[in-house]
């Protein structure tokens, strides 16, 4: 019995299909759920949505595929060189005689996949300028219309309303309710932000929402994840209305926080930023009223001062003053006149005396003393200078140096 015949006797000959079927059975049952660690290489994304890659270490390589439905679930971006841990099953593909790892879950090694996704998205958005300080809009002071994008069933809205309750209530809060976690949360949040912007474009100026709070209360990293999504980041970035993000607690910083115009540590803080304290407003108002009154009083004092100055100047031109002045001048003048007149009078007096003396020399009485006489008509007292001025029988009076003679005229010739 040759070795060959004995071999033939005991040998079992597989067809290629048969052996492949056995290999498939063994591999797929033994490796139905395995964790594999390796480095990504030769990563390719196909239009079908399936991802193809290899996992490798120093000595071996394992081809792998992530089908469409699983690929969608991956938060981070798979890149060559990335160290990953995968959960999957080995599958033998008979037509090619190849085996590969069908990956159902994949996580970056050493860091959670969410964390990696966050880092990757952060880098991308940062490069695009979504976190740029220059893009941030100022938060209005004392806004009277405040939009809130959050869930009606969450803690955030309760906190906001609680703050409103104890602060200045002269505000209009408009809530756009959205889901803040779960499947459609990111789209709903993004739409909620956009809705407020659309609303603003349809209403008149004083009905517009001036600022919005976008957020939710605390939760696990996964619960807050919607606020790390790109679609939310972009909605915030494109909002014309300033956005205050308020996600979870102080320690939680999401991408929404980085894009938002202002990050509030919590929803309560966000509300406190936009809803002022009554006491603060009262203090502010009181000091304004005080300044109003003081400035008015000051202004009044200014006017008073001006009036006083004008009055002073006016008094200088006052008629009473002028009269006094003129009187004074008149008195001066009068005094001068008096002095001059006295002087003049004295002068004239002596001239007059001289004239009188001179005149007295010419008096007819002095001539009479030398023997002349004057004859007057008795009837009218006229001086008789010629004979024909008188008739016979008339009475005449003759004045001598001493005494007078009355005579009747006998004859005229």
């Amino acid at each position: 019995m040759s070795l060959q015949s004995s071999e033939i006797k005991t040998r079992r000959i597989f067809t290629v299909s048969e052996i492949t079927q056995d290999i498939k059975l063994i591999l797929e049952s033994n490796f139905a759920e395995v964790w594999v660690e390796g480095e990504v290489s030769n990563f390719r994304q196909y239009p079908s949505g399936h991802d193809y890659l290899s996992l490798k270490d120093q000595a071996a390589i394992l081809t792998a595929v992530i089908f469409n439905r699983n690929s969608k679930e991956i938060k981070f971006k798979i890149e060559d060189g990335l160290k990953v841990i995968c959960l999957g099953k080995v599958e033998v593909y008979a037509p090619r005689g190849q085996y590969q790892l069908i990956i159902e879950k994949i996580e970056p090694k050493g860091i959670g996949s969410l964390q990696l996704a966050l880092e990757q998205l952060k880098q991308k958005l940062e490069k695009e300028g979504l976190f740029s300080l220059a893009h941030k809009r100022p938060i209005p002071y004392l806004p009277s219309r405040i939009g809130v994008v959050t869930s009606l069933s969450g803690a955030a809205i309760k906190d906001v309303l609680k703050v409103l309750e104890r602060r200045f209530k002269d505000v209009h809060i408009i809530i756009n309710p959205v889901r803040v976690q779960g499947e459609n949360a990111k789209e709903e949040i993004a739409l909620g932000i956009k809705d407020f912007n659309d609303f603003n474009s349809r209403v008149s100026g004083n009905e517009r929402i001036e600022v919005m709070i976008v957020g939710r209360g605390g939760g696990s990293t996964e619960d807050l994840w919607a606020f790390n999504e790109e679609v939310v980041a972009r909605a915030i970035y494109h909002s014309q209305i300033p956005v205050i993000s308020a996600v979870g607690h102080e320690r939680d910083v999401t991408i929404a926080d980085l894009v938002a115009d202002l990050r509030a540590a919590t929803p309560s803080v966000a509300a406190e930023i936009v809803i002022p304290k009554k006491e603060d407003l009262k203090d502010n108002l009181d000091s304004l009223i005080k300044n109003l009154k003081q400035s008015f009083l000051d202004l009044g004092q200014n006017f008073q001062d001006t009036i006083d100055a004008l009055m002073h100047r006016l008094r200088l031109k006052n008629p009473v003053v002028l009269i006094d002045e003129y009187q004074e001048r008149a008195r001066d003048f009068a005094r001068q006149i008096y002095v001059r007149m006295t002087h003049f009078m004295k002068l004239k007096q002596s001239e007059f005396t001289k004239a009188i003396e001179k005149l007295s020399g010419l008096s007819p009485l002095n001539i009479l003393a030398r023997g002349y006489s004057i004859t007057f008509k008795m009837a009218d007292g006229a001086v008789i200078k010629e004979a024909k001025a008188i008739k016979a029988g008339e009475v005449i009076k003759t004045r001598l140096h001493k005494g007078e003679i009355l005579s009747q005229v006998r004859e005229v010739y």
Binding site: L142, K158, V171, H172, I173, D195, F199, N206, L292, F303
Partner: protein, 78 residues
């Protein structure tokens, strides 16, 4: 004036005080401004004491138009 927003009234009041503090107004203007300032401050004080909150929900109807509907707060408190 009664319709004026608190914020606007406060801003206007600030402006009036500023104008008065500058002091280059005519007496007439100053009086007018002062009176307006007093009215504004009364309005603000009144608002501070009597403000009523208003909370609405933004609702999009079938036509895609927005409506504001008052919020039933009892639903939130639960």
């Amino acid at each position: 004036m009664a319709e004026m927003k608190f914020e606007d009234a406060l801003k206007k009041l600030e402006k009036i005080v500023e104008d008065l503090e500058k002091g280059d107004l005519s007496l007439d203007e100053a009086l007018k401004k002062y009176q307006e300032g007093i009215e504004l401050s009364r309005l603000c004080s009144f608002r501070l004491g009597n403000a009523k909150k208003k909370i609405d929900l933004l609702v999009k109807n079938k036509k895609g138009d927005f409506e504001l509907k008052p919020l039933d707060e009892t639903k939130i408190e639960q």
